[in-house]
Amino acid sequence: MIAVALAVAWRLVYKAFTLPSFLLPALLFPMIFFLGFAGALGRVAEVPGFRYGPGYEAFQFAFVLLQSAAMAGVFTGFNIAHDFERGFARRLLIAAPRRSGIVAGYVLATMARWAVNITIVFVVAMLVGMSIHGGPVDMFGLLVLGFTLNVVGALWAAGVAMRLRSAQAGPVMQLPIFLLIFLAPVFVPLDLLQGWIHAVATVNPFTHLLAAARSLLAGGTSDVALAFAIVVPLALVFAVWALTGLRRAEAAGG
């Protein structure tokens, strides 16, 4: 199974680094969001009641880190749907002795790609003057949180892609993630939101992930335990979702 996973992952990672059109969109969006939001909206930190020690760059970096972690899975989902449309997935199904390795491979590839992307965005964030108040342990926690969400996103998208097996899967996997990450305190802390967005963000689990990530960057621990209590069970649930998706794909003959 590990051999299958590594083979599947290697293929996607190889593609990502040899075909720029394959890697760029997944990198450009977090970059655009970070530069666009952190660059344009710095003065928002001056809004009365806005209190966040490390500054607006770090405030937005937390968002971009989680946004890109979740969305990276969608890009893998596109690849999976594409593989099924072109019949390549059938070849994988035939060749793989333990087919769950295929899912693991797609997840590994997602993690590898995200790791590269977020490193690049991090370097750019430091260049434009982001300051971090958290220590090494906080940063490690932030990375683990990011990777776990990354796995959740990949498993969710894989499950959808293997059920629909066509490009139609794109919007189906993208839209819920998109809504979850944007119907949250993206630009200002939760208590500065008003009206319907405040009501929605309050019940949105992604709000807690954002709060945890921002807290870790600031050297705090608030919401961190809650965030992990959300993403770890989600990873398990979506693992089942992805594996049953694989069974459906198998039943349909690829």
Partner: protein, 257 residues
């Protein structure tokens, strides 16, 4: 048959084809409205910042969907042109007596027609959400005209890319770059309220800022001759440049005698 009639026929084909792809249509209608809702409500408190030009962030943002819609429609139209080149459909059209200019502008005309329909929906959406439009009723056609010119400008850039690369993937690969020009502009914040020097500089040299500010002036200050002159001026300049590039690309692509 006149060139205008040929453009009409090719434009209606492009329009019809777009209507028959509800997925793409849904995205170019839905995303701008969702973005407006999320940003306008999420950044509502930013209108409290000293020097912010309006007391409502929704008013400030209400023209942004017009720019997004223009961009998406233009990209979709360029993707379709790339597909026409891939499938040989463009060659089929080239074998008819249709004039070259009609072949070039037909696609664009369909895109603009679709964009105008979308603009009406964005405007209605913003109005329902409670946005105020300072320029009043007379300002609406001006808003639509400038936004349509933006669609033509983006459309011609997309067309040039489609003609150069000859593929729909080529256009789709460029899509994020279009997005960069939007996000690194004064789309989300007035330029004089941007703190980061590098961003203010980029937004100031980015023509998209002036296109948005021209549209925005109608919503938040009514009739601002300077903002409108800059908006229309940049629109005309970008159109002139992009249509020239597209025409050259068209000549290279279509070598018919």
């Amino acid at each position: 048959m006149s060139v205008a009639a040929q453009i009409g026929h090719l434009g209606s084909r492009a329009f019809l084809r777009s209507l028959r792809q509800p997925g793409a249509l849904f995205f170019s209608l839905g995303f701008p409205l969702v973005f407006l809702a999320v940003v306008a409500s999420g950044l509502d408190r930013a209108s409290d910042l000293p020097g912010f030009p309006d007391d409502s962030f929704l008013d400030f943002m209400m023209v942004v969907p017009f720019v997004h819609g223009s961009l998406f429609t233009a990209i979709n139209s360029a993707v379709e042109l790339g597909r026409d080149i891939e499938t040989g459909f463009l060659n089929r059209l080239a074998l008819t007596p249709a004039r070259g200019i009609a072949l070039m502008l037909g696609n664009l005309a369909g895109a603009v027609a679709l964009a105008l329909v979308q603009f009406s929906i964005y405007f209605a959406g913003a109005a329902v959400a409670g946005a105020e439009f300072e320029a009043g009723l007379l300002g609406v056609p001006v808003l639509f005209a400038l936004a349509a010119m933006i669609a033509v400008a983006f459309g011609a850039v997309g067309m040039a890319i489609a003609l150069r690369t000859g593929s729909s993937d080529g256009v789709q690969g460029m899509f994020p770059l279009f997005f960069v020009t939007l996000f690194l502009s004064s789309m989300n914040m007035p330029r004089d309220l941007v703190e980061a020097d590098w961003f203010r500089w980029v937004a100031t040299v980015n023509p998209v800022s002036y296109l948005i500010e021209g549209l925005r002036s109608l919503a938040i200050s009514g009739w601002d001759p300077q903002a409108l002159a800059l908006g229309f001026g940049f629109a005309v300049t970008v159109i002139a440049a992009s249509v020239t590039v597209a025409t050259l690309a068209f000549r290279d692509r279509l070598t018919r005698t």
